[in-house]
């Protein structure tokens, strides 16, 4: 549950959200997109409530129709953005569009869902754990894509549990704890973020892990 969260994401910047499991990262994105209703507070995109016409959202888990090719899946989305060059994007991400999605690996499915999200060409783009299942090369590519989207004036909000995936792409990273922003880190402060995530007791946890692996108590 999110409570007391205050977040401003300017256009042209990539903002990341990190936090422990259950901190509210996905809930935040789903509330912005409108999948989760908010009891109080306001969510605005350029002064108005964001909706499917202004916002594109890549969820952590994506649904794919069985016996549908990657190209056909993109066509479901492409109906909204006819100028989108699906082949060029597929080539960039090394994705065979004419194979059935059922035969794709988890990483290929993630790439397809990402390309579909980008094809919508929305003002704001919400990416929930886009790095999941992606190989190293695709993750580097994703960071470039995200950066260039921001440079083109898009508002980009990304969550990830892979810190490197965020630090390479984000201008700011918000640390979420207990449903609220505990601290926001600028580009020069990303080094502190890892320490903040561990919670300052990194040495204690390290000793506990060592003790557990040896079969003793911490």
């Amino acid at each position: 549950m999110i409570a007391g969260l205050d977040l401003v994401v300017p256009a042209g910047e990539v903002h990341g959200v990190v936090g422990p499991n259950g901190a509210g990262k996905t809930t935040l994105l789903e509330a912005i997109y409108g999948f989760v209703p908010t009891r109080r507070g306001t969510i605005t995109l350029r002064g108005v409530r964001p909706d499917a016409r202004s916002t594109a959202y890549l969820p952590t888990e994506n649904y794919f129709y069985p016996r549908m090719t990657g190209r056909e899946y993109l066509r479901i989305f492409r109906a909204r953005a006819p100028a989108f060059d699906a082949d060029a994007w597929a080539e960039l991400f090394d994705l065979p569009l004419d194979r059935f999605v059922d035969e794709y690996s988890a990483g290929m499915k993630k790439k397809l869902a990402l390309i579909a999200t980008l094809s919508l060409d929305r003002a704001a783009i919400l990416l929930d754990e886009p790095s999941n299942n992606l190989d190293v090369e695709s993750n580097l590519l994703l960071a470039q894509v995200v950066r260039q989207l921001a440079e083109a004036g898009r508002i980009v909000l990304v969550t990830s549990h892979i810190l490197e995936a965020l630090t390479s792409a984000c201008d700011r990273i918000h640390l979420l704890r207990g449903g609220r922003v505990a601290r926001t880190f600028g580009r020069g402060e990303f080094g502190e973020l890892e320490r903040a995530l561990v919670g300052g007791d990194g040495a204690v946890k390290h000793a506990k892990v060592r003790a557990l692996l040896r079969g003793g108590a911490a």
């Binding site: 129709y65 549908m68 066509r75 479901i76 109906a79």
Partner: protein
């Protein structure tokens, strides 16, 4: 939206065709069952209770689909009106049942089945599927037979 409907219809045809290729006996059996069902359904509306049974059977199909479907979010994410797509799906599903009822002089039952199927999208979709999926995930954590071999080390 027409493109979406066309692509999904194509995917359904492929699924059925793939089933027919991989399990021809099963496919023939299914078609025979469908044919027998159609003949039986044709005679049902002669009595009032039969008409009710056919109407209930007709509604069962979209109710089951609605309870287990998981494409609601995809439809919204891709910019399609999910409820309208669902309503079209259910209209297609109940059409044969409503058709038989209407032709056999049970117009009111046909209209009722059609109206109920069109109202179905107002209820949350995929709840039953989500519950089952949660159950399956929990079961996956149970003990399993596993063989794991290492070379060297401790």
């Amino acid at each position: 939206m027409l493109e979406l409907l066309r692509l999904r219809a194509l995917a359904v045809v492929r699924t059925v065709a793939a089933l027919g290729r991989s399990e021809p006996a099963w496919a023939v059996g299914f078609l025979a069952l469908l044919g027998l069902g159609a003949v039986y359904a044709w005679g049902l509306p002669h009595s009032s209770s039969g008409a009710v049974r056919l109407a209930v059977a007709g509604l069962a199909a979209p109710v089951l689909v609605h309870a287990f479907r998981r494409d609601g979010r995809l439809l919204r994410l891709s910019g399609h009106p999910a409820r309208l797509v669902f309503a079209l799906d259910y209209a297609v599903l109940v059409a044969p049942f409503a058709g038989v009822l209407a032709v056999q002089g049970r117009g009111e039952a046909a209209a009722l089945v059609l109206a109920a199927s069109l109202a179905l999208p107002l209820m949350p979709a995929g709840r039953a599927g989500a519950v089952l999926l949660r159950g399956r995930r929990r079961r996956a954590l149970g003990p399993r037979v596993c063989t794991f071999r290492t070379a060297g080390g401790r």
